[in-house]
Structures are given as C-alpha cells and as structure tokens.
C-alpha cells in the first residue's frame, strides 16, 4: 500500500474531526473522499500531508510511519482548495517552486516547467502574472505546481470547487485522463458526488469523521451503505421498511424487493426511476405537487395520502402537471435494501 491510515484521529477541542479512520490507497489508484462540509475530509488530507498532527493513530507512506516527519520531507503533493498560488511569483516561479526546494538546477527547472505547462494546457504561460489568470487557469497552474516535484502521492482538496459547471465537467475528464497517463496516485476530497464519481477508481464517503462507505463509484451508487449515504447522494425516497420475502411493507404500501435482499427492519431506497406512473385507479393514489425540469427528464414530487413524499423521474412527455392525480407502482429493479 502506498498510503495507509491506521485509526487516525484528530480532535479539535474535544470533538473528533477524524475518528479512528482506517484507509488504504494503492499505487496508481485514484481515491475520492466524498462528504458534506464538516465531515473531516480536508483534515484527512492535512493529516496525511503533515500539516495537522494526529492525536492518535498513524499515517504510513510506503509502509513507513510518518509521525515526526515534517510536511516538507514527506514527498507528497497537495493542491489547495483555493489554489494558494504565491501572488508575488509569476506562473513559472510558482511551478518551479517545489523543484527549487529540492535543489534542481536552473536548466532542469526551466525544462520541467515548460513540460508541465504543456501538460496542463498552458504552453508559454511561464512569464504571466498569477493575478491575471482566470479561475480555470489558476487551477491548472496549481496542478502543475503540485505535480512538478513528482510527488509519490498527489492530494487534491476540492480541486474544482470554485469553477463553473461546464469548466468543471470538462476538467474532471482531463484530470482523469492525465492521472491515468502519468500513473499518479491520487487522493482527492470533494463534496460534489458528480466530481467524485467521474474522477475516482474508488469513492470513500465520510460522515462526522468516520468512513461511512468505501467502494467503486458503481457500488456506492447502486447500494449506498445506509440512509445517510443515500440521502447524501441525493436520493429522497428513503424509508424504514419491514422487509419480508420478495416484498417490503412501507408507508407507501407493499413494495417489491429484489431476490436475496436481507430481511427484517431495514432501510429501503427507491430510486426515482423506480417510481412508475400508472392511471390513478391502478396504483397508489398521489397528487403531483412540484415538477423540476432536468433536461433529459422531469423530476416530479408526488404526495400520497398519509405517507412521505415520493420523487419520481418521468419522461418529458409523460410527466404530470402540478395538481394532477396519478397512480404509482414500484419497479423492483430500482429498489435497494440498505445495510
């Protein structure tokens, strides 16, 4: 394992911001830590970087305990949330900083700066002032700066957080491609699930300083570990249910569940696509109370009598108007029994 955390704990005034976290990152793996703000994900990065001392537990790099190793000797790279480019240096000076600290010759520095600026798509920008860069360009410079000393582990703190949506979607693809090509090991944190799923080989969801779930993007998306993860991923139709053989009893009535689902009192997730609209008399009677246009489909909020609201994804043409009465059926393929 390139990076291992063993029961890593950080407390701020009695509150555990990292609570006995165990995490492994393998060589060339891209791991994305996903969680709401305050879940301890930035602290995780700072602890690995050596900027935040651990109150308990250990950080190991290549199997070597890092306690007592100061930040500048750990050989890891960190790209800060708001980039933290050095304002008094130009682009080249920023990118070359790490190389200078490692005693690279001037010629070597210039070579590598040129190489990296090409890599991040800013050829010839070496002499530009940092203040004159756009947000996306700053992000690229920060990336080039972090990559320049060839860190064994590259960490990204909300790498695309402050960029606008279209740029973010383009950059995330570029980043994944780039890291794949360079064989970089990456540990990134973000609160944006889209970003995490697009970037990562493995997603780690954090909650209150603990790891709530770890798995491939597909695994996490298909089977969230618990109600918290499901809701954090944006799912609304999450309820307690008594799961029996082949069906579960929920506030919405009887709902079919996939074969082999664990039985007993469980948390049940119905993905919006699993809420099918049928004529009123053929299913659960609901009133449409809100609709949101999503581009490829429409999200409709449905209010049954005496039960929590349901979120349904409908095709554009089939979507009911607000106030319409509809019936609802459930599709077993889009239902998951959690935990």
């Amino acid at each position: 394992m390139l990076l291992s955390l063993r029961a890593a704990t950080v407390r701020f005034g009695g509150r555990a911001v990292l609570d006995a976290v165990d995490l492994d990152v393998a060589e060339q793996e891209i791991v994305c830590v996903l969680g709401p703000s305050g879940s301890g994900k930035s602290t995780l990065l700072r602890a690995v970087a050596g900027l935040q001392p651990l109150d308990a537990g250990r950080v190991l790099l290549d199997g070597h305990d890092q306690s007592g190793v100061p930040a500048h000797r750990r050989g890891v790279g960190l790209m800060f949330q708001d980039h933290q480019l050095f304002p008094q240096r130009d682009v080249g000076g920023n990118v070359a900083f790490g190389l200078r600290m490692h005693g690279a010759s001037r010629v070597r520095q210039a070579e590598r700066v040129g190489e990296l600026l090409d890599l991040v798509g800013l050829p010839g920008a070496s002499g530009r002032a940092v203040a004159a860069l756009s947000g996306g360009e700053q992000q690229r410079v920060a990336l080039a700066r972090a990559l320049a000393p060839r860190p064994r582990l590259l960490m990204l703190d909300e790498p695309l957080g402050q960029l606008d949506r279209s740029l973010r979607e383009r950059l995330v693809v570029e980043l994944r491609e780039l890291f794949g090509r360079l064989g970089t090991t990456v540990l990134a944190v973000t609160h944006d699930q889209g970003e995490a799923f697009a970037l990562a080989d493995r997603v780690v969801v954090m909650r209150d300083g603990r790891i709530a779930q770890s798995g491939t993007p597909l695994e996490v998306w298909q089977r969230p570990a618990d109600a918290f993860v499901a809701r954090f991923l944006g799912f609304e139709n999450v309820v307690e249910a008594a799961v029996g053989d082949g069906a579960a009893v929920t506030p919405w009535g009887k709902v079919p569940v996939p074969d082999g689902a664990p039985q007993g009192t469980r948390t049940l997730l119905v993905r919006p696509a699993g809420v099918r609209l049928v004529p009123v008399e053929e299913g659960l009677r609901c009133t449409a109370v809100a609709r949101t246009f999503r581009g490829t489909h429409v999200t409709v909020h449905l209010q049954p009598e005496d039960a929590p609201r349901l979120e349904a994804a409908c095709a554009l043409r089939a979507a009911p108007e607000v106030g319409d009465e509809v019936g609802v059926e459930f599709d077993e393929a889009e239902i998951a029994v959690l935990g």
Binding site: L51, P70, A71, V76, G77, Q88, F97, G98, P149
Partner: protein, 533 residues
Amino acid sequence: MAVPVAFFAVFFAYPVTAIVARGLKTDGTWQLGRIGDVLAQSDVRQVLWFTTWQALVSTALTLLIALPGAYVFARFDFAGKQVLRAVVTVPFVLPTVVVGTAFMALVGRGGLLDELWGVRLDTTVWAILLAHVFFNYAVVVRTVGGLWAQLDPRQEEAARMLGASRFAAWRTVTLPALAPAVAAAALMVFLFTFTSFGVVQILGGPTFSTLEVEIYRQTSEIFDLSTAAVLTMIQFVAVGSVLALHAWTVRRRETALRLVDASVTARRPRGAGQWALLGAVVATVAVLLLLPLAVLVERSFGAGGLGYYRTLTEDDGGVFLVAPIEAVGNSLQYALAATAIAVLIGGLAAVALTRRDAGRLVRGFDALLMLPLGVSAVTVGFGFLIALDEPPLDLRASWILVPLAQALVGVPFVVRTMLPVLRAVDVRLREAAAVLGASPWRAWREVDLPMVRRALLIAGGFAFAVSLGEFGATVFIARPENPTLPVAVARLLGRPGDLNYGQAMALSTILMIVCAVALLVLERLRTDRTGEF
C-alpha cells in the same frame, strides 16, 4: 520572542525601575510615604490637573476638527487627495521641538500674528492646544478614516431598504461600526497629549507644565529625584490604564466587521453641502497644518536670505562645542542605528505575536510593547544614565546609548505596522510551500518575506522619523559635543538673541524637510493594509 523580551528588560524595565528605586529608596528601604507627601503638594496637584484637562480638551478638540476630515478622506474622491493625505500626515512624524518652534513662529512673541494684529497666544493655553491638534489630526484621520473607507456602503443601503432614514441608517449602522475606531483614536491622542513634552516645554513657558515637563524639571533643574520618581509612577499608571483601554478597543475593532476595498467606497462630492464640507476641510488643513510650517520656513530665512543657514556651519564656540550643522549628521547616524535596532526588535516581536499558538502571555506582551510610547521619555533617558553605568553594561561613554533609547520609542511603531500585514499572510501559503518541500525557515523566507518587505520598509521609515525627532530621552543622554537636531534646536531656543532664534528656525526647517521626505517616500509605499499609524 526571547530577544525582544530581553531588550525590553534591559533597556526599558531596568533603567526605569532603577531610577524609581533611586528616588524612593533610602538606605535600602522603600519610602512609600513619599508618594503621599508628593501628592499632597499643591503644585504637584496643579500639574496633574493641568496635564489631565489639557489632554482631555486637546483630544476633544482634535476629534471635533479631524472627524469631518476623516469623513472627507473616506468617502470623497477628489483631485489631489493623495497629496492632501500625505500633507496631513507630515505633522505626525514631525519632531515635537519643530512643532513647538513652528507655533512659536506663528503665535509667539514677534510671531506672524503678533506682527499682523498684535495677537500673542504663547502665554495662553491655546498655543499648546492648537499644537496638539496640529500633531494629532493625522491620528484621527488615519485610524477613523481608514476604517470608514473600508466600511461597506451597502450595509447602510441595506438599512435604508429596510426603512431607515439616511440619518437613522448612519446612526444605527455606520456609527456603531466606527465607534471603536473613534475610541481607539481618541485614546491614542489622549496618550500623546497626556505625555506631551517638547511642545509644552517650548510653548508652555513657566506657567504651564505637564507631568512629563515637571519630571524633567524635577530631575534636571531641581534634582529632586524622589518627586520625579513619584511623578513617573503616576504617569506610568495613567498610561498603563489608557493602553489597556486602547488594546481593548483595538480588539473590538478587529472583530466582526465586513470590510471592502477602500477604493470602491469613495465617490465625487455631490451638491453644495458636500463641496462646502470638502472646502472647509481643505481650509482647515491649510490654516492649521500648513500655515505654521510655512511661517517656520519663512522665519528661517530671516531678513538676510540664507544667512541663518550659513551661520549654522560656523563653529560659534558658544552654545555648542561644534558647528550646529553637525547635528544633522549626528541625528542621521543615530536615527539610522536606532531604526536598525527598532526594526530588528519590533520585527521579531511582531513575528512572535503572529504565531498562531501565541498564548495569553505573548498577547499580553503586545500591550507591553506599547508602553514606551507613554512612559516618560525623560525618565528613560535619565534611567539610562544611572542604570547603565556599571560593567557589564557600562554604556555611558558609548554612542550606542542614544540609538538604544530612540529605538525604544520606535519599536511600538514597527510592531503596529508589521502586525496587520503579518497577520494577513495566509498560513496556507506557508503550508503550500511546506508541501512543496520548503522547510519552515525557507517557507518564511520565500513566502512571508516578499510580502512583508514593503511593510518592513514602512515600519523602518516610521522608526526613522520617530528616532530623528525623539527629544525627551535624547536630551539627557546626547553628549554635549554630539547633539541631535531636536536637542540643538531646543538649546538654541533657550538662548536670547535673533541669531539663535533664526538658527533654531533654520535647523527646525532642515529637520522638518528630512522627516517630510522620509514620510513622502513611505506614502508611496503604503497600502491600505499596513498598520494603524
């Protein structure tokens, strides 16, 4: 941290304690009864009363005259604003002796007003009050105006949208935000005027005397050390309480205000009322700040053009052992050395104070660093003489004594200028450097130093100007053959005759020009973030 503490212990606490002990200790026992005896003297009580009320009146007068100026500088945009801002600040760095001399030339015997209308104010308290306003105008304009300019006008707009009238919006939103800054400025002015020495020494005549002047008189003329010691302690307590109040208001000012870039809040004056206000402020600056200086320059040329300046180069063998002009060289050398010391000590202290893990103790040190601003400079100077005269610290014969004393006064300015800038350096920039492989020292050199270099220059400039004008301590420890400019001016003024008077004016003018040049250079370097002064 250890270096500044040691510096203050040896060159501040030790001399001051030594002289207080000398005054109050006989045969090894403290004579604390002396405190009561001294306080019972009616002339001492009179000095105390005068010191307090003149400081209060000076402060009120300064606020009254300078607050409109603060508003104009904060909210109006007009041609020549930068120049006017610099002009306003010049008096603050002027040596007290120069200010005294300038007001002498304006309102004193044979002064401009005397010649024109036969009006003389030098025997009244008005001369002192006006000189104090002259001095401290910049303190109010800078501290209050600086904050005012950064208050977001949209806050007031938000209040107006919620139904507040223009005045109600100002009273409920802007005024509370400004109040701590006004309080801090007022306390600063009070402190400076409470401990006023040079101005009162020159303009007060035999009638008016502040604590500081009285300490000087008791020490150097009457040789009553125990009275001087008691007075020093009284001043120490008074200044200590004012500083504590000041630290408190500063802390309040630092909290919870949303500040914006000053350049976006100013706009051109609109309507007759605002133009009249601007005109009034400009007129005030012209009459109150520029006129005395102009008169000073005019007097220095006297009847015969450059005559007074020419005689400065001659060794008259009377007042000095050397030609008065040599005081210029002395002053510059001393001030440079003092600046180096002040920047080193103050810089180290500021760095120690910015560390995030700085505890209560260190933060207490912050307030302690301000003490030399208020503790009797005369006491410090005399304390140097009697305390630093034994090995291993026998510095009496050393030239370094003068710069050391001057540096003490410079350090608070350095700390105050450096602190906000150092605090503004984002720790994460340092962390970014660390992650890229920079050791802590290397990170400081690569990240902090380039950002604070300007502030360091400005701090140095302030220390230089302050050292150049330092009078109270220097007058004691400067050797007769090596006077500084302020000391030379005071000595010349103390002698009768037109030539001495003219020479004093000429030397003052030179001193003023040196200080003004230093300040104008600084003004070009200044950013809005740097410091309170």
